[in-house]
């Protein structure tokens, strides 16, 4: 140990440097805190918040009950019970649709997986509840979230036949929408 380090040790030089740093923060007090319930953060554009089921502008549900979201979800949040639309044997919809939001990690995989863009992520995040069973959402609740978060709804594609999802639009041999 040379003289310089020895002097630094006995005078607690390194501690004093650290204490000077904290003191300078105290003297130049510039807090970065947001007083959360009173002032809220600007959310980024691609914010991934609460999930919602969407509708077309005529009020029909977009979901075609394909179960792809359930397959894509890494934490098994989603449970879809798919069923035929009564009277339209080729068309399916989700008879029941549950999300257990206690497990969701807001990765957005389900939204990516959905072929008809029936799922959306809203900008809601204040979903703290006293009873966690309230976070087990059914289809009506998810649709309601979608209704209040996405007031501007997508039009149903004109080209599309009623019984065919829009990703089949390119296949000319399929029946086109009657004009």
């Amino acid at each position: 140990m040379n003289l310089k380090t020895w002097i630094k040790t006995i005078t607690f030089y390194d501690l004093l440097v650290g204490m000077k740093a904290t003191m300078s923060h105290l003297l130049h007090y510039r807090p970065i805190t947001l007083q959360y319930p009173h002032e809220k953060r600007m959310l980024p554009d691609n914010y991934r918040g609460m999930l919602a089921l969407l509708r077309y502008d005529d009020g029909t549900e977009k979901c075609v009950g394909c179960d792809l979201c359930e397959a894509a979800c890494p934490s098994r949040v989603i449970r879809v019970v798919s069923a035929e639309v009564p009277g339209q044997p080729t068309k399916r919809y989700s008879k029941e649709y549950y999300m257990d939001m206690t497990r969701c990690l807001f990765c957005g995989m389900c939204v990516d997986a959905c072929p008809v863009d029936a799922l959306g992520m809203t900008r809601e995040f204040e979903w703290a509840v006293y009873d966690k069973r309230q976070l087990h959402l059914n289809k009506e609740q998810l649709l309601a979230i979608g209704d209040r978060s996405f007031p501007v709804r997508e039009k149903q594609l004109e080209l599309q036949h009623q019984n065919v999802a829009f990703f089949n639009v390119a296949f000319k041999h399929l029946p086109q929408k009657p004009s």
Partner: protein
């Protein structure tokens, strides 16, 4: 008989006043600590209860008061209840010998009392040291009786730490005792009157300026050991949050927890008072006499003295917060090595040097 009851009444009133002030200080400290820590870390600290969060201690107190009182399964109930009391009583009792203001006497209904010290006993320093050691029993008992491994580890660490550092506290004080020739805090403080160069940290003789008896090394040892003894960062191993949940009071809740908490803060105030009295001249102003005294208001000089004492104590308390905001926790072997291999030799050498200088240059 009437004189006895009168003395009793006066003493009780003094005790009530001091307890009230200490409790108030503890309340202020709980808020001040979070505020200062927050400011140093670019946060705001508590802001919700009252304007700028100043009513937070009251909210905390109410919350702790209404919390459920849980005794863990398998805990020794009697010991579990005794531990917080054993921790808190010694922390409070030490204030009995602290002189908060000048050593004046007042006659009330024919009896003579000293308004600024509850009891000026001639073994004041020993008394404080003795009760500080008893406080360690509270911590150890709390750890042992909780029937939890974290509490036990915290209690054991605390036992080892308090013993090692209490030794250093005791030895660091010896220099001051040699110079003042007394164990009474009142006498020690009086020996430092007349300007800051007479404070024992500087240690000039009563007739000179040269710091011949300087106790600055003892002061540093005392402050470091006091931080360790009150289990504060960076020596907070008994309650290391990241390793031991909360150390010896992991299993405590409600008012029992509050007792431990108050004990910790009261201990901080106590060691600050002792450090201020022993090394920084207690109630003495850093210049000879008092400004109010020179201005002809001799009866009001005590206000200035008490203000200086309060300022010194709060300076120490701020140092506690400052250290907490800056330093990480020591490892256990570092703590022990620092205590025994660094602090202890310095304290011992200080005694030898002080004894020699005090012999050749008596005060």
């Amino acid at each position: 008989m009437t004189e006895l009851s009168l003395r009793l009444a006066v003493s009780l009133a003094q005790i009530a006043a001091v307890m009230g002030i200490v409790m108030l200080t503890v309340m202020i400290l709980t808020l001040a600590e979070r505020k200062v820590l927050g400011w140093m870390q670019d946060r705001m600290g508590p802001m919700e209860v009252g304007p700028y969060g100043i009513l937070q201690p009251i909210a905390d107190g109410l919350k702790l008061f209404f919390k459920e009182d849980i005794v863990p399964a398998g805990a020794n109930k009697a010991m579990f209840t005794l531990a917080p009391i054993l921790a808190m009583v010694p922390a409070m009792i030490g204030f009995a010998v602290i002189p908060f203001g000048p050593n004046v006497t007042v006659d009330v209904f024919g009896i003579t009392i000293k308004p600024f010290v509850i009891s000026d006993i001639n073994i004041g320093v020993l008394y404080i040291l003795a009760f500080a050691s008893i406080g360690a029993y509270g911590i150890i008992l709390g750890g042992w009786s909780s029937n939890s491994k974290y509490s036990l580890l915290g209690g054991l660490r605390s036992a080892a730490q308090v013993i090692s550092y209490e030794l250093n506290v005791g030895l660091a004080i010896v220099g001051v005792l040699l110079l003042s020739g007394s164990l009474s805090l009142v006498t020690i403080t009086q020996a430092q009157a007349g300007g800051f160069w007479h404070w024992f940290i500087w240690g000039a003789r009563p007739d000179g300026f040269f710091p011949i008896h300087t106790q600055i090394f003892a002061f540093v040892v005392f402050v470091i050991s006091a931080v360790a003894e009150t289990n504060r960062v960076p020596f907070d191993l008994p309650e290391a949050e990241s390793e031991l949940v909360a150390g010896f009071f992991t299993e405590y809740s409600g008012m029992r927890f509050a007792f431990f908490f108050i004990a910790e803060y009261a201990n901080m105030v106590l060691v600050s008072c002792v450090a201020a009295s022993l090394f920084l001249g207690g109630w003495n102003a850093p210049y000879p006499g008092t400004i109010l005294g020179y201005a002809g208001l001799e009866q009001l000089a005590w206000i200035e003295n008490v203000a200086w004492f309060t300022l010194k104590v709060y300076m120490f308390l701020f140092l506690f917060f400052w250290l907490r905001a800056t330093l990480p926790r020591l490892r256990y072997d570092q703590l022990m090595r620092f205590g025994w291999k660094v602090m202890l030799p310095i304290a011992l050498a200080n005694i030898v040097v002080t004894a020699i200088t005090a012999y050749f240059f008596p005060r």
